[in-house]
Symmetry: C2
Subunit: 421 residues, 2 copies
């Protein structure tokens, strides 16, 4: 082999981390709640420590209440949000299974792609970006496709829309389909009723309205979906008692094999991966914060702050993007005025005010900004600061906006709320 010098011989000394202080108002990741950061630095325990099992059990209990479910199989996948999506799909879908994907944004496209990679027979229905599906359109497609799984995105951050899901579970079950929902960007900021709405699998992430760090993905699975997955179950040879139990049609992934993850989180605590201890600590505290405040209060807080932010945008003379009656509480789309340089504005906002907002993807790249009010940033001072900073940067760039009126409009929303109107 080559005897090139290893890079370290010429690498300068690397300084300790010293990240800038940002106000993160993009639609995730958001600033991690200081209580969550503090929890992450608690002492490490082993993966089979009785205390670890207690912490895992408590996380499960709290997640059930946040998902509004009684599902036994409620836990986390050790990865970012999309890891739980893939775990849900690869554990449910065998090659050739028909899957119906409802696609009206980038994250619908992601569901389509993940289903394709599972070698599902993928059927896609679409809506223009910025719209949601009427349930009748989904039902019609279910009748035609007869899918094993119907895949939806509750809140597609790329478009800021929140898909209504109430009643969809019953429709899916009537035709023998399972219902999957990606609630990464919506959950905790918008109502999600897993049991009442008949959602069989819902997944999310920690870096948005949970107010935690990216890298751990809550998931809940109904008994109906568990039954489907368990038919494809196998136990790892290294931990099986006796010969390895392998079924036909084995799940194509070890890491995302949910039945194995159920055994790890269940009373057998059968070893699979080594649970990400300190991320679990983060999850525990993020869930505790939500449970303390009450999930419905947290949702209402996101709604209030989202309304204030959208009022500020309109008040300063900018135009909101998309169907506002179906907007996610926690993500606001702003039409970028003609002739305005998206990247330059965002760079100035970041460099001068240390405030981060985002643009979008695909057809909306450079045409809208997306502002998130998520987790502990769903609060008055964060909304006002972001609005004031954006207004100032636009003004300095010659855009005809009225920042003061934006702040007044936002304050009026808070005042109306406080006075009970």
């Amino acid at each position: 082999m080559a005897t090139t010098a290893y890079p370290m011989q010429t690498t300068p000394r690397i300084d300790p981390l010293d990240p800038p202080h940002r106000l993160l108002m993009a639609p995730g990741p958001t600033n991690v709640d200081p209580r969550v950061l503090a929890a992450m630095s608690k002492p490490t325990v082993g993966q089979f420590d009785p205390y670890m099992f207690k912490a895992m059990d408590e996380v499960q209990t709290m997640l059930r209440s946040i998902f509004k479910t009684n599902n036994t199989q409620t836990m986390v996948v050790d990865g970012t949000s999309r890891s739980a999506i893939e775990a849900a799909f690869v554990s449910t879908i065998a090659p050739g299974d028909p899957v119906l994907v409802c696609c009206a944004g980038r994250f619908g496209m992601l569901l389509k792609e993940i289903a394709e990679r599972c070698d599902a027979e993928v059927h896609v229905i679409e809506r223009p970006w910025g719209e949601v599906f009427p349930l009748e359109q989904i039902e019609q497609a279910i009748i035609e496709v007869k899918p094993k799984l119907v895949a939806t995105v509750q809140g597609d951050t790329s478009t800021t829309m929140c898909q209504p899901l109430e009643g969809l579970g019953d429709i899916c079950h009537k035709y023998g389909a399972l219902l999957y929902t990606d609630a990464t960007a919506s959950m905790v900021g918008n109502d999600l009723r897993v049991d009442e709405w008949g959602i069989d699998i819902a997944t999310t992430g920690m870096q948005k309205c949970f107010g935690g760090p990216s890298g751990m993905a809550p998931i809940t699975v109904s008994d109906r979906a568990v039954d489907v997955m368990e038919q494809r179950k196998s136990i790892e040879a290294g931990v099986a008692d006796g010969a390895q139990e392998i079924t036909t049609n084995r799940i194509r992934s070890n890491y995302f094999d949910l039945p194995q993850i159920f055994d790890y989180w269940g009373p057998r605590h059968l070893n699979h991966h080594t649970e990400a201890t300190h991320m679990l600590y983060a999850m525990h505290e993020a869930a505790r914060i939500i449970v303390e405040e009450g999930i419905d209060n947290v949702i209402a807080r996101h709604r209030l702050n989202g309304m204030a932010m959208s009022a500020a945008i309109e008040g300063m003379g900018l135009k909101l993007y998309g169907d506002q009656s179906h907007r996610m509480n926690d993500v606001i789309g702003v039409v970028i005025p003609n002739g305005v340089d998206d990247a330059a504005i965002r760079a100035q906002l970041l460099n001068d005010f240390s405030v981060e907002i985002a643009s979008s993807f695909g057809p909306l790249k450079g045409t809208i900004w997306r502002i998130g009010v998520m987790g502990c940033n769903a609060r008055k001072d964060a909304v006002l600061t972001c609005a004031a900073a954006l207004g100032n940067v636009l003004e300095r760039n010659g855009v005809a906006v009225t920042p003061g009126k934006g702040i007044e409009a936002a304050l009026a929303v808070y005042e109306a709320f406080e006075s009970g109107n």
Copy 2:
């Protein structure tokens, strides 16, 4: 749907985390270095923040030096150790590809299983647990099987053995095969020379000799392996410029699609997942600690403390497990004396001394203990404390041991080192 009350209505208040203070001397997870814990609580930045890219670049630079490689594609997978194994396999192996797995312990079995789930044509060669493979045996199998990938475990924690790898890359390349090595339990505690030994893909975890938390998995990929993976590359529709580029034989996973992860870590920073910011902070500091001390000094420290621990075990009259000339520096196997109740001893050790050690898996379950000296626990007081505690518990359980002689033997190892002998 059922109208059962959601659990929270009957769930008791959940207290803040307050984990016990453990001395983790199992072979991982180990105690996270306090400097790493502190780094994890630094302020969150966005996934496209210039500071985030700087931190990612620095992690890559440091990981290259720790892997002893110049590989451009050196980064982390956002998941536990086995997530990187699966990423390596699913990105390299197309269904039907011949793979040769070298299996002499539980983690060899895991490689076999992951390869099977990729629908590889899996060929396995075995050694009894507690032994390593002579390179001639591997070469002979390569000649017979003509594999696309040869999969090895450097340090199989289940057996404490460290597989010699020097020269194996040349053998693999001679027959057109790629060499994969799982270095989860061995790396940083034992020498690993990715470039010099011709290893095409090596993966590891953070919760062992890196002294970090579980949940993030370093990986390095040679140009030769990158070429193989890139032939199966596709760009996600939601972020592709124009039509999505899909090749035949697309990689079966989105989350573990390494070419997409390369684009995310590379100069294009093409969005894939949302990088696990605070785990990246942990990785940054864990790597900084290793680079500061010097990788070869860190390996020597693990070796010294492993020798002291094994001396303590023999000194107190217990028997070491496995071929000591091939033992990992950082994991010591101890034969459980006849008639001793493994679980009872470990429980007493945990409850009285808050010291954790482990048993093993499969044929070794309940027959050996495994003691890890990893990361910041590869130090004198941790070794002496663990040895003294184990000796005391065994003595109190009527086992004929001489704990004092164990400590003396360990001290003699340190003294010989300090005096340069």
